[in-house]
Amino acid sequence: MIKLVEVEKVYPSPAGGALKVLHLERLEIADREHVAIAGPSGSGKTTLLNIIAGLTAATSGEIWIYNQAVHTMSERERDDYRARNIGLLFQTFNLLSGFSALENVLLAMSFSNKIPAGQRQGRAKALLGQLGLGDRLHHRPGQLSTGQQQRVALARALANKPNLLIADEPTASVDYEAATTVIDLLESSCRENEATLLVASHDPLVLNRFERVIRLNHQGQIERKAEALER
């Protein structure tokens, strides 16, 4: 289970003082649940995902993920925890342009040590093959279509068999048809891997696909009423 209690993220304001971008009283997500996070720009969607992923430390509050107290971890511990437990999918894919599709997937496995070294090549090739990229293993991102790049990014996110897959605006860079395919892939992959799925989006097409949508307002707070309505 993912549980956030009284989590706040405050940045120093350029004008002086403090800028609170996120304030969650309580948020719970069950194991293997698929959840969408919605909200206008600046509502703290990405900040929330970054805090759960351990990329950013919360200013205060408790973050429990699969019974691990992320809020007490050092940055180094969060790096290890992220590498082993979390798959990340970004809006612009963030593939490394100088590395092939296969190498991009292998890179993810290099930092976790979760997959034994002898199995990494095989797993990376199998993942890319399952996503229809078996003949594009040695292509660099620049030699792939947008949809293919996104599938490489998904293979990379799934490389370490994560418990939690986090996708930030995964359909923002693709058209309607591709967006449907992406959501299908994300959901099916998470089902196969028994992973929890957390997707931040403002795309109605995406949001309509999820049974549970958590909506954040401009103050970075959950709109309880909206969440209840969505349910």
């Binding site: 990329l55 790096d79 992220r82 990340l88 993810a108 930092f111």
Partner: protein, 412 residues
Amino acid sequence: MSLAAIAWRNLINRILQSLMTVFVVGVAVALALTIVLLSQGVQNGINRAAEPYDLIIGGKGNAQQLVVNTVLLQGNPLQNVPLELYEKLQQDPGLTAVVPLGYGDNYRKHKIVGTQAPFFDFRNKPSDPPYFQLAQGRVFQQPFEAVLGSEAAQKLGLNVGQSFKAEHGDAEALPGEEDHDEHEANPYKVVGILKSTSSPADLGIYVDIASYWKIHERGAEQVGDPTGPKAVTAILVKPKTFPNDLYRIQQQINSGRLSRDAQAVIPYNELYNLNQLVGQGQQILSFVAYIAIAMAGATVFLSLYGAIVERRRDLAVLRALGAGRQRVFRLVLLESGLVAGLGVLFGALLGHLTAWIISNVIRNANAIQIIIGIPGEEPVLLLAVLLVGLVAGILPATAAYRTEASRYLAPT
């Protein structure tokens, strides 16, 4: 993928930049190394050239000129040594060998050294093999037989059994002499060729000094040479005990007790002083080399720092994938180490190649042989440049270390 594989791939991805950096580091290393190798090589060559000669006795004048003429076979000889001194030294019980040297003639610019057979028995230490060893033939046994240094034989294209006619080349040795007929009438026959000694001695032609005395007999008498017909340009002596007899003889001669018209010099000391004089130029060159190394370090820094600024997003992705800050730091440091390492490797090869080419050019143009080895400074120099490269990588690595992943992952 290992960190080294990622670092290597990053370098390949910006191949032109990487090659340029490797090139600049390499040239700086080569410059510094060439100076070290040549300076050491000259010293080696000098050591080797002076090896068999403990003490040289020659006429009054510039001591370095005496050594340069006798050991390096360059320049003009000083005035002759009084014959009576040579005879006195022969009687000295503290000397195991007293060998006369006569200069003045040449054959196609190769000095003809008049000496005696014990010359070929000179060695650095009593336990060492003789400095001069025959490759072919035998040592001369009578006047007008010649033994050639290895390089002299090669350059002159002379073999055992062939003959040549000497030319009178050093007018200063016996001024005003007109003895072309004597040279024409007495050709030398090659009876032996020496093995290479890697010293200027390889350029010499060695003959029985009696040949000199015979050819120059008439001329010497004509110009009234005070030494008489048996002119001796220099004397090599081998002391029985070292250094007692060496210093005793040197002091006796230099104090004028044995002769007022002679000096005794230790060739190694004179050549060392000569090299020290040249060493000042080497110091200036070394300074230039240090500047080049500093600039190479700056190039590594600029190249990597520029790459880090360009690759902030890539580094953020690595961080997002679980690479800790220390790992990202190590990655960049590894890249600087790889660039510096390749530069050092390239520079070491280039430096040795350059030194080898220069030593051969100098070898062909001069008597001094530059013996290129692997000086003790070389590993120190190469490690120092590697360290400079790594230090140059610290700032870019720190910039990578400080990359906030969440800041660079969002679309721009």
